[in-house]
């Protein structure tokens, strides 16, 4: 279980995260979606959970261990992995090299300065598997910056899964992806995370996706939890619907 307890984070006078207590992974491979209007503090919450920001108060607990003061890389090795809203790849490296780096990191091999980067056979097998799973095999030797956008997103996700997370936090995984490819990206994420037993925490604006895939939603408003429950909450909670539709586009 990944738990945030009474988290606070302010930027100047603005309380971006205000007394937030939430938990993820109540069941195996739970899909939790975080919704809320712009400025509700969704990304700040993800940044706090993953260690990009440190909270002013409160704690973060991962599988009964307090990780509030752990560095991002320690959290990654503890099974807490994130992706960014804008796809961030190692642009001058090939698709294979990007995925390989993530696998090497998971295996704790990036510190090896005496071996060759491509001679770890178990790693190479894993890389091939991942490339197949995310249908990137044909692009394996292409430089990341030359990939079409949909594949860039998939590569980003493939690198996240290469780290074998227990919890995967996705900040708008479909942003910038064409409507046609949106479904493919989400389907792939859901499919792989269910097979691997990964709990996902996803920030999403597209309510069709939320109602289609969420086990549970958490609605944020002005830094606080407005409500949480099944995705049908969006239909039944009038105030929430107002918030999501009224302020958001």
């Amino acid at each position: 279980m990944l738990r945030a307890e009474e988290l606070h984070k302010s930027f100047g006078k603005l309380a971006a995260t205000d007394d937030v207590t939430v938990e993820f992974g109540r069941s195996e491979a739970e899909h939790v979606f975080i919704v809320g209007p712009n400025g509700a503090g969704k990304t700040t919450l993800v940044n706090l959970l993953t260690g990009l920001l440190s909270p002013d108060a409160g704690r973060i607990v991962l599988d009964e261990e307090d990780i509030t003061n752990h560095s991002p890389e320690e959290r990654v090795h503890a099974g807490l992995v994130r992706s960014f809203q804008v796809v961030r790849l190692f642009e001058s490296m090939t698709v294979r090299e990007n995925v390989r780096l993530a696998v090497l990191s998971r295996e704790g091999k990036t510190g090896s300065a005496l071996s060759l980067v491509d001679e770890h056979e178990a790693v190479e097998r894993d890389v091939d598997d991942l490339l197949d799973q995310f249908r990137l095999a044909e692009h394996a030797d292409q430089v990341a910056s030359e990939l079409p956008h949909g594949d860039r997103k998939l590569l980003d996700v493939a690198m996240s899964f290469a780290l074998e997370p227990e919890y995967l936090l996705l900040d708008e995984p479909t942003s910038g992806v064409s409507t046609r490819e949106t479904e493919h990206v989400i389907e792939t994420i859901v499919e792989v995370s269910e097979r691997e037993g990964v709990t996902t925490v996803t920030i999403e604006h597209d309510m069709d996706i939320v109602t289609g895939y969420a086990d549970r939603i958490i609605a944020l408003h002005q830094g606080s939890v407005h409500g949480e429950g099944p995705p049908s909450l969006i239909e039944t909670d009038d105030e929430l619907r107002q918030l999501l539709l009224g302020v958001d586009e």
Binding site: V76, E91, A113, S115
Partner: protein, 391 residues
């Protein structure tokens, strides 16, 4: 089975695609042409002491110094090329190596070249660990400024201490032979300088192979990732700070061994050429001049720059101008440096292709040339001004 597993000896010949290849180290396999080229270069390098006796305009010590600064630049390039950090203070490690040799030779009469080298490595490694730890709290401009500041701090400290011989520096002349012992041997002056040159070549080749292995290892890939996107690297679990620190120390070790050899070759160490920030700038410039996107570029850059500076001193009073002009040429004409440009198949061919594709590119070239000339004239005027005392 990996192709180069067919033969496990080192070094060795391997068959690949029906042709024999030379295997230098695991993974580094040269084709016939490449191996031939490498052998010719190596042979030519070993023949340099002979060549310099035939051609008086070439001086062994100058070339030797060029190679040593180049070695330091190879180390600096680990940071520049892979982690994308610009260090303006690498003379600190060159100087630490040189002064470690000098202090041990002068104050403690340590005679063995090997001991001096190892001690210099240790000292430079420690120095890099400390300076790196403090400088790497920042990236970008502030990192560069911190390395510059620490380098100058060291320079000022050494220059002000009589223990280090102040601005006169210290000799590196231990023992009755007045020179370090090379593998226990007291050599005659002429023999000593030639043998030290060969020692340098051996150290250079070993350093290049080690660097090749390092940048082609998982650690090297992690450094590349850090250079591209530091934050993303952290979020795939790479301990960025620790790795960059390690790279900084390695890069300092290269400076240290180069500096120690420099001290032993010159047999005297002064603060200006070893510790001053202008030397740091030179080392950085060498990497760019030779081509910082390549492994051997910094070495070529070091040799060429030191040679040019030496020749320039004889030819013109404005020898600083020469460095300026070369720098301009590189930035405007050959941004990938000497080795980089050679690898890209020649600037002229590229220019020819550009011209055929779009003739208006001539306008850009003229503009660049105009800017280069104006800047050159500016530098020249400033030099002229300082010579005739005009402010």
């Amino acid at each position: 089975m990996r192709p180069d597993d067919e033969l496990r000896s080192w070094p060795g010949l391997v068959e690949r695609d029906g042709e024999s290849h030379l295997r230098v180290t695991r993974g580094l396999v040269l084709s016939r042409r490449q191996a031939g080229f490498a052998l010719v270069v190596l042979a030519a390098t070993f023949a340099i002491p002979d060549i310099t006796t035939l051609a008086p305009s070439l001086q062994l010590t100058v070339l030797h110094q060029g190679l040593l600064f180049g070695l330091a630049a190879i180390g600096l390039n680990l940071l520049l090329r892979h982690t994308k950090l610009v260090s303006f203070g690498h003379a600190a490690f060159f100087g630490t190596g040189a002064y470690t040799a000098a202090v041990l030779a002068t104050h403690y009469d340590v005679q063995s070249m090997t001991v001096l080298l190892v001690a210099a490595l240790v000292a430079a490694g420690l120095m890099a660990a400390v300076i790196g730890y403090l400088s790497l709290r920042h990236t970008g401009l502030y990192f560069s400024l911190l390395t510059l500041a620490f380098g100058q701090l060291l320079y000022a400290l050494v220059q002000g201490q009589s223990f280090f011989g102040s601005s006169d520096g210290l000799p590196v002349r231990p023992g009755p032979a007045n020179r370090p012992l090379v593998f226990g041997l007291a050599l005659e002056p002429e023999v000593y300088s030639v043998v030290m040159f060969y020692v340098t070549i051996v150290v250079l080749v070993a350093s290049l192979v080690v660097m090749w292995r390092l940048v082609n290892s998982p650690f090297g890939a992690a450094l590349d990732a850090i250079g591209e996107d530091r934050q993303r690297a952290r979020f795939i679990g790479i301990p960025v700070r620790r790795y960059v620190w390690a790279a900084f120390v390695v890069s300092g070790l290269y400076g240290g061994v180069a500096g120690a050899l420099y001290g032993m070759v010159r047999q005297h160490v002064r603060p200006e050429p070893t510790l001053h920030f202008l030397s740091s700038g030179d080392i950085l410039f060498m990497a760019i001049l030779g081509g910082y996107e390549t492994l051997v570029g910094p070495l070529v850059g070091g040799t060429v720059l030191v040679f040019l500076q030496d020749v320039g001193r004889d030819v013109t009073a404005y020898f600083d101008l020469l460095t300026g002009v070369v720098l301009l040429l590189i930035v405007f004409g050959f941004p990938s440096g000497i080795v980089g440009s050679l690898q890209h198949g020649g600037r002229l061919r590229v220019a020819g292709r550009q011209l055929r594709a779009d003739p208006t590119v001539v306008g850009d070239w003229l503009a660049a040339a105009g800017r280069a000339i104006l800047t050159g004239v500016g530098v020249w005027l400033r030099n002229l001004g300082s010579v005739v005392g005009v402010r």
